[in-house]
C-alpha cells in the first residue's frame, strides 16, 4: 500500500510541475510586456520597473522560472493589479466558497443520481429505463448557465423561494448546488446503472435469485453495495471536475468563489490573480484525483498494488 501510495504521488508530481510551467508561461506568451501585464495597465513606470526587478523579467527564461518557483514556494503569488491585495489572501477568501458549492453539488448528484441509476437498472429496457436515460442525456446537454437562469427565474423571481444571488444562508446554496450538480447527477446515474447491471449479472446474484433464497429488495441491497465501488470513484472525479465547472455557476449566481474571481480577473486583465486561480484549481483537481485513487484502493480489496 505504501509503495502504491508513493508511486501514485510520484505520477502526480510531473503533472503539478506541468501546471506550474503552464501558469508561468501564460503571462509570457500573452501579447504585451509581461511586466506591464503583471503590474496592471494603469501602473506607473516605477511600479513596472519594480515588478520587472522582483520577478526577474529582464533575465533569461530559466532564471525567470527559477524565480517564479522560488516565490511560489514561499507562498508569494504577487498582488492583484486591481485591489493591490495579496493573491494568496484573495484565494484563501474565495476557495472555501467554491468548495462549499462543489460539496453541495456532489451531494445533490449522489442523492438523485444513485437511486435513478438503480431504478433504471432494475427496470432495464422498460419505459422507466428509457426515460431515465433520456433525462440523463438532457442533463449533460444543458448549458449550466441557462439552467441556472431558469432556476432563478422560476424559483427566485416568480415563487420567491430562494434568494436570487449571493452567499450566506443555507437557502443561498440550494439553487447553485442543484445547478452545478445537474450534469454530475446525469453521469452518476448512468454509471450506477451500468455498474448495477454488471453486478446483477454476476453468478452469485443469479444463483441467489434462482434459488429464491433472497427477496428482490435484499438482492438489490446486496448488489448495490458492490455496484457502488466504481460509483464512488466517479463521484470523486466529478468532485474535482465540479471545482473547475463552478466557473459558470458562480458567475450566474454571483457566488464569491475562485471561478468567478478567475473570470473577473481575466476580463480585468488582472494577471497575478488569473495565475493564482488557475494554479489553485488545477492543483486541487490533481490532488482530488490522487485521493480518489488512494481511497479506491482502500475500499476495494480486489485492487492489486502492482
Amino acid at each position: 500500500m505504501l509503495e502504491y501510495t508513493l508511486r501514485r504521488i510520484l505520477i502526480a508530481l510531473p503533472a503539478i510541475f506541468g501546471v506550474i510551467v503552464v501558469v508561468f508561461a501564460m503571462v509570457r506568451l500573452a501579447p504585451g510586456d509581461p511586466a506591464v501585464l503583471l503590474a496592471g495597465e494603469f501602473a506607473d513606470q516605477a511600479t513596472i520597473e519594480r515588478i520587472r526587478e522582483r520577478f526577474g523579467l529582464d533575465r533569461s527564461m530559466p532564471e525567470q522560472f527559477a524565480a517564479f518557483v522560488s516565490n511560489l514556494a514561499q507562498g508569494d503569488l504577487g498582488r492583484s493589479t486591481r485591489t493591490n491585495r495579496l493573491v494568496t489572501e484573495d484565494l484563501a477568501q474565495f476557495f472555501p466558497n467554491t468548495l462549499e458549492l462543489a460539496f453541495g453539488a456532489i451531494i445533490v448528484a449522489l442523492v438523485i443520481g444513485i437511486p435513478a441509476g438503480v431504478l433504471s437498472a432494475v427496470k432495464r429496457n422498460t419505459w422507466v429505463d428509457a426515460l431515465v436515460t433520456f433525462i440523463a442525456l438532457l442533463g449533460v446537454s444543458m448549458p449550466v448557465f441557462w439552467f441556472g437562469l431558469l432556476a432563478i427565474l422560476f424559483f427566485s423571481v416568480d415563487l420567491g423561494w430562494f434568494p436570487v444571488a449571493g452567499r450566506g444562508t443555507f437557502s443561498h446554496v440550494v439553487l447553485p448546488a442543484i445547478t452545478l450538480g445537474v450534469s454530475s447527477t446525469a453521469i452518476i446515474a448512468r454509471m450506477t446503472r451500468s455498474s448495477m447491471l454488471e453486478v446483477l449479472d454476476q453468478d452469485y446474484v443469479r444463483t441467489a435469485r434462482a434459488k429464491g433464497v433472497l427477496g428482490r429488495t435484499t438482492i438489490i441491497k446486496h448488489a448495490l453495495r458492490n455496484a457502488l465501488v466504481p460509483v464512488v470513484t466517479i463521484g470523486g472525479l466529478e468532485f474535482g471536475r465540479l471545482m473547475a465547472g463552478a466557473v459558470l455557476t458562480e458567475t450566474v449566481f454571483t457566488w464569491p468563489g475562485v471561478g468567478r474571481l478567475l473570470v473577473d480577473s481575466i476580463l480585468a486583465r488582472d494577471y497575478p490573480v488569473v495565475q493564482g486561480a488557475v494554479l489553485l484549481i488545477a492543483v486541487s483537481f490533481i490532488v482530488v484525483n490522487l485521493l480518489v485513487d488512494l481511497i479506491y484502493g482502500l475500499i476495494d480489496p480486489r485492487i492489486r498494488y502492482d
Binding site: 505520477i11 506541468g18 503552464v22 508561461a25 506568451l29 448549458p143 441557462w146 437562469l149 481575466i266 490533481i286
Partner: protein, 356 residues
C-alpha cells in the same frame, strides 16, 4: 443461364446494411438525434431564407416585445392563418398593439435583399413573412428591438462551425499523437503521456479558459482553444485502442511481411480504432458547442453584435425579470443541438460496441 440468373438475384440481398447501422437505426433516440442534427443543418444552410429579418436589424420602438406580440390566429374578418397587428413599446405606455390594422403572414414573401454563400446567392425571397408594412416577432425582440428568431437562425452556423473546427483540431492532432505514442511505446509514449496528463490536469472548460486568457478573447481564439482542449481526450482514446490492436495477428503479419512501422500504423492500426473516434467526435461536438457557449456567456468568446447563442443568453440575463424570453430561447437552441449530438454519439457507442 437460368441458374446464374437466380444466383445473382440471390446474392443481391447479401449486400445488407452492416449490423451496427441496423442497430443504430432501430434506436428511436438515435433517429431523434439525427433528425435534430438534420434540422439544424437545414437552418444553417438556409439561414437568410428562413429568418424573417437580418440579424442586426434594430428598432428602438419595439424593444423587449414578448414572443408573438401582435400576432393572432385568424384575420379581422375571420380569415384563416396568422395575422399581425403593429406593436410598439413606449417608455410610459408599455406595449401597445394597434388591432385596427392586421396583415396576413404568407409563404414566399419578398423582404429585404440578402446575399448568401459568399455572394453566390442574391435574393430577397423568404420562406414566410408579413404581407404589409408591419413587423412580426414570433420569439419576441431583445433590448435593441432585434428579432430573436432571426438572430437564433443566423447564430446557428457559429455553433456548428465551432464544433467542426474544434473537433477537427482534436482529431487532427490528438489522433496521430495518440497513435504514435501507443504504437512506438517506450520513451516517446512516456513523454507524450506526461504531456497529456498536464493537459488533463485542467479539467473541463478550464483549459479553454486558460488558453483564451493567454491569447486573447474572441470567437476565433475560442474555436482554437476548445479544439486544443479536446486533443488530450483523443490522444488517450486512440492510444488505448492502438495498444489493444497493436499485437493482434494481422498487425504482426503485416510486420512479418516486412512492412515498416508507420505505414502499418496508418494502414492497419488506426482504421481499427475508428469506432471510438467517431463516437467521441459526436460527443465532442456537443461538448465543444457547450464550451463555446459558456465562454460566450462569460464574455470571453464572441463579441456583440455577433448573434452567438451564449452571448445572446448573457445579454438576456441582464434583463431576465423584464424579458425572460431573450435568455430562454438561445438556451433552448443550445440544449436542442447539444442533445442531438449527444443522442447520436450515445447511440453510436451502443451500436458499435461488439458486446451489445
Amino acid at each position: 443461364m437460368t441458374n446464374a440468373a437466380t444466383e445473382t438475384t440471390k446474392k443481391a440481398p447479401q449486400r445488407r446494411r452492416p449490423r451496427w447501422l441496423k442497430r443504430l437505426l432501430r434506436n428511436p433516440l438515435a433517429v431523434l438525434g439525427f433528425l435534430i442534427i438534420g434540422f439544424f443543418l437545414v437552418v444553417v444552410a438556409a439561414a437568410p431564407f428562413l429568418s424573417p429579418y437580418p440579424p442586426a436589424d434594430q428598432s428602438l420602438r419595439t424593444t423587449y416585445l414578448p414572443p408573438g406580440t401582435g400576432v393572432s390566429w385568424g384575420g379581422p374578418e375571420g380569415q384563416f392563418g396568422l395575422w399581425v397587428s403593429p406593436a410598439t413599446r413606449s417608455p410610459i405606455g408599455g406595449v401597445k398593439v394597434d388591432e385596427s390594422e392586421a396583415y396576413p403572414v404568407k409563404f414566399f414573401v419578398r423582404g429585404e435583399p440578402y446575399e448568401w454563400a459568399g455572394g453566390l446567392i442574391k435574393s430577397d425571397l423568404r420562406l414566410f413573412g408579413v404581407d404589409g408594412p408591419v413587423r412580426y416577432h414570433l420569439l419576441g425582440t431583445d433590448e435593441q428591438g432585434r428579432d430573436v428568431l432571426s438572430r437564433l437562425i443566423h447564430g446557428a452556423w457559429i455553433s456548428l462551425f465551432i464544433g467542426l473546427i474544434s473537433v477537427g483540431i482534436g482529431v487532427g492532432i490528438g489522433v496521430p499523437v495518440g497513435a504514435i505514442s501507443g504504437f512506438l511505446g517506450g520513451a516517446t509514449d512516456m513523454v507524450v503521456q506526461r504531456l497529456v496528463d498536464i493537459m488533463l490536469a485542467f479539467p473541463g472548460i478550464l483549459l479553454a479558459i486558460v488558453l483564451v486568457a493567454t491569447f486573447g478573447t474572441g470567437l476565433g481564439n475560442v474555436m482554437i482553444a476548445v479544439g486544443i482542449a479536446s486533443i488530450p481526450v483523443y490522444a488517450r482514446l486512440v492510444r488505448g485502442s492502438v495498444l489493444s490492436v497493436k499485437n493482434r495477428e494481422y498487425v504482426e503479419a503485416a510486420r512479418a511481411m516486412g512492412k515498416r512501422g508507420m505505414p502499418t500504423l496508418f494502414r492497419h492500426v488506426i482504421p481499427n480504432s475508428l469506432a471510438p473516434i467517431i463516437v467521441q467526435s459526436s460527443l465532442q461536438m456537443a461538448i465543444a458547442i457547450l464550451f463555446a457557449a459558456g465562454l460566450g456567456f462569460l464574455g470571453l468568446g464572441a463579441r456583440p453584435p455577433q448573434p452567438e447563442w451564449g452571448l445572446m443568453l448573457a445579454r438576456g440575463r441582464e434583463y431576465l425579470a423584464v424579458a425572460p424570453h431573450v435568455a430562454t430561447f438561445p438556451g433552448l437552441a443550445i440544449v436542442l443541438v447539444v442533445l442531438g449530438f449527444n443522442l447520436v454519439g450515445d447511440a453510436l457507442r451502443d451500436a458499435l460496441d461488439p458486446r451489445g
